[in-house]
């Protein structure tokens, strides 16, 4: 029976074999190879994208990998797919494959330098790809910035909900505190408008003081987090969820009643400081710091508190300090994300930080995966892109995305990539030849 099966493989098996054969050479492509291939691709799009789009009958370059065009004008599907194949898939495939020996050699050489040099080299490449990709349209710039802000937000919520295992609902609250404080700071100091009067400092100084505004927002938000952190000493789990929820409603209601910052109408005229490079730098900074935090002793203490508070206390973990640090730390980053968010949209009102935002952030955390930095990045970027790509479906978008999330929850209850460590060094390492790699995996 088994021999029979083996001799006549089913179509599914055949496809799997075929796919693995195609994939074979790509196993030895290091991250550096992928990044340089992506760079070639976006460069190609910049150079010949528009003429090619015209030839294929598209009015402009499809902004988000063609999904929007396919959904709004299904007749153009073949030309969009062709465009995607010619501009993205083929060049990436070819370049990644044929530069992989060189890329491996460079990656191997880079490993002899300190990690920071290697990381910087990769980041510069990544930023170049992002910058060129975003050059095509302002829409891409907006989507990229919002996606990166979601990464910060999701990561910081994952510290509390994933690593510490609480169900905190207060993140939109922290975010709004950061957003309002940072907005007030920049508007009062650097913008002349009728609510706060003349600018107190020369506007040219603004971009340099912007980090200060964000950090201030983060600190105030962390201070607000004390309101949630202190009750968390006495109570865990469900009651903490309520306390954090109440905190979220309180902050929203508080800003609705603060006429100084516009009340329910919100506050606008934030200066345009949150440009692509700035948001990129803050995102990388947050990933770096949060990743180090969760891999530190304190991060392990978080896991210990999650898995058994009494046992953790018995193992000399100071549970109070741990909880406090986690909440304040998460709130700080949520505040920074809020400040960036306010300066990207340049208009905020209390309604931007309500239940919908909460559902969005929670969805990103649980979609990507608990207790995992990689998962948070995947979840944040994935959900932001999906929700932008499904925009032509109008309100049906809000039926499809929830259904998708429910399916993910049913089949992978802890999210797509849960409980993994984000190992930067491993990421940058040159890839061995496929056969060696297999031996490595077997060992």
């Amino acid at each position: 029976m088994t021999t029979n099966l083996a001799s006549t493989p089913s179509t599914r098996q055949r496809i799997r074999v075929l796919l693995s054969k195609i994939w074979e050479p790509y196993r030895s492509v290091p991250l550096l190879g992928w990044l340089s291939a992506a760079l070639v691709t976006v460069g190609l799009e910049q150079l010949i994208g528009l003429p090619l789009a015209h030839v294929l009958g598209l009015s402009k370059i499809p902004a988000l990998f063609g999904a929007v065009v396919i959904l709004s004008k299904p007749a153009l599907t073949p030309s969009v797919l062709l465009f995607m194949a010619l501009i993205y898939i083929l060049p990436i495939g070819i370049v990644a494959r044929f530069t992989s020996p060189v890329a491996n050699r460079i990656a191997a050489k880079l490993t002899s330098y300190p990690l920071i040099v290697t990381a910087l080299a990769h980041l510069v490449l990544l930023y170049a790809v992002l910058q060129i990709w975003c050059d095509i349209s302002d829409y891409r710039v907006l989507v990229a910035r919002l996606a990166m802000i979601s990464i910060i937000l999701t990561l910081s919520l994952n510290v509390v909900n994933g690593y510490m295992g609480e169900f905190s609902c207060s993140h939109p609250g922290f975010m709004s505190v950061g957003a309002y404080v940072a907005s007030a700071f920049t508007i009062v100091l650097f913008v002349s408008e009728n609510r706060f009067g003349e600018a107190l400092l020369p506007p040219a100084l603004g971009p340099f003081m912007f980090p200060l505004a964000l950090i201030l927002g983060g600190l105030v938000s962390a201070f607000g987090a004390l309101l949630v952190a202190i009750p968390s000493f006495r109570t865990r789990g469900d009651y903490l969820a309520i306390i954090s929820l109440a905190f979220m409603f309180i902050t929203k209601s508080f800003f609705e009643n603060m006429e100084v910052v516009g009340g329910a109408r919100g506050i606008s005229n934030q200066p345009d400081y949150a440009t692509l490079p700035i948001v990129f730098i803050w995102t990388i900074l947050s990933i770096w710091i949060i990743n180090n935090f969760v891999r530190s002793t304190m991060g392990k203490a978080l896991n210990a508190v999650r898995d058994g508070e009494l046992a953790a206390a018995a193992m000399t973990v100071d549970t109070r300090k741990t909880k406090m640090t986690a909440f304040l730390f998460a709130a700080f980053w949520a505040g920074v994300a809020g400040g960036l968010f306010a300066h990207v949209l340049r208009y905020i009102n209390p309604d931007s930080f309500g239940i919908r935002k909460l559902a969005e952030v929670l969805a990103m955390v649980y979609f990507g995966g608990l207790n995992s930095v990689t998962g948070s990045i995947v979840g944040a970027v994935g959900l932001s892109l999906i929700s932008e790509a499904l925009r032509p479906l109008d309100i049906f978008k809000w039926i499809i995305i929830p259904i998708m999330l429910i399916l993910i929850m049913i089949y992978r209850p802890t999210g797509l990539i849960a409980f993994t460590e984000f190992n930067v060094e491993r990421l940058f390492h040159p890839k061995k030849k496929a056969s060696e790699g297999e031996e490595h995996a077997a060992a």
Binding site: L227, I242, F247, S253, A359, L370, I406, I410
Partner: protein
């Protein structure tokens, strides 16, 4: 003093809605240890079902068929609407349980909370997609009349709403205390693991819990429609979350506790609106809840227990 009683009856009315929704939350939470975040939207669906059932019944023109005076007819329509919508909405609740929660039995509780949130969004958007964004106005099921008792003027609507909600709360309490089904529910709340060994089907009890909660939510929806005859797809969100807070405030799985906490929430909201500007209502109400929970972390009637987060 007269003003005080006026506000008191308003608070009782608002509290009735919170109480009825909170009981649904509290039962699911008590029996399955789940946050059923879709419950606020189940309340919304209940109100819409009530709208369609009552409009259908009024259009059928039962009065012409049987020949009843219009006052009695309206009463009959109200009772029928309540019964039919409660039944239909319990089906909705069971569907939510079957699709969103049963596949996640044994999964981390937070995952189930996420599916609940998502089902809530599906219900809202589905409603928006099917019925469009315009608001519906609930048919008049009661002829408004004002009764004056000792200088305080009460409308019959308010009395009916408070009366029905207290009646339903007490009926449910008796059901849970006195019947075998109720005993099974309490057993499940007590020990999740041992109950199946006693020959009780966990799934059946879960379905019944959802059905009962949703039926009460439908009643709350219809009463809401009687009090404020405007329905819109997002009406369940804020109500749902506040009722959820009330449910936790009442203590885990305590029906009377959830009811009382619902009424308390109504009181806090109405009386803060009297003293402070009404925009401060949520701020102060939630601040008070935060203070209460800081000093009584497990609610009014809950026992101190540490919920095991099975993550």
């Amino acid at each position: 003093m007269e003003f005080f009683f006026q506000q008191l009856i308003n608070a009782l009315q608002l509290g009735s809605f919170y109480a009825l929704i909170a009981i649904g939350y509290s039962m699911v939470y008590g029996v399955l240890l789940l946050f059923n975040f879709a419950h606020g939207d189940v309340f919304m669906v209940g109100a819409y079902i009530g709208f369609f059932v009552s409009s259908g019944l009024l259009a059928l023109d039962l009065g012409g068929l049987i020949g009843l005076p219009s006052g009695v007819l309206l009463g009959l329509v109200l009772v029928l609407t309540l019964i039919i919508s409660m039944f239909l909405n319990s089906l909705v609740g069971m569907l939510v349980e079957r699709i969103g929660y049963r596949p996640l039995r044994g999964a981390p509780r937070a995952s189930a909370a996420i599916t609940g949130l998502m089902i809530g969004i599906i219900l809202e958007t589905g409603n928006l997609a099917i019925l469009g964004p315009q608001r519906l106005s609930f048919p008049q099921l009661i002829q408004s009349a004002t009764i004056k008792i000792a200088g305080v003027s009460l409308t019959n609507k308010k009395i009916l709403i408070v009366f029905v909600s207290i009646l339903l709360t007490l009926a449910l309490h008796q059901f849970v205390r006195r019947t075998k089904w109720g005993m099974a529910m309490r057993a499940m709340a007590y020990d999740y693991v041992v109950v199946p060994l006693m020959g009780i089907s966990t799934n059946q009890i879960a379905l019944m819990t959802f059905a009962l909660g949703s039926a009460l939510a439908a009643a709350a929806g219809i009463l809401y429609g009687i009090a404020y005859p405007v329905l819109d797809p997002n009406m369940g969100i804020l109500f749902g979350w506040k009722a959820f807070v009330a449910a936790i405030l009442g203590g885990r799985g305590s029906i009377v506790g959830a009811g009382l906490a619902g009424f308390l929430l109504g009181f806090i909201e109405i009386f803060t609106a009297v003293i402070f500007p009404s925009t401060m209502r949520n701020l102060i109400a939630f601040a008070i809840i935060l203070i209460i929970l800081t000093f009584r972390p497990h609610g009014f009637f809950g026992e101190p227990f540490s919920a095991q987060l099975r993550l």
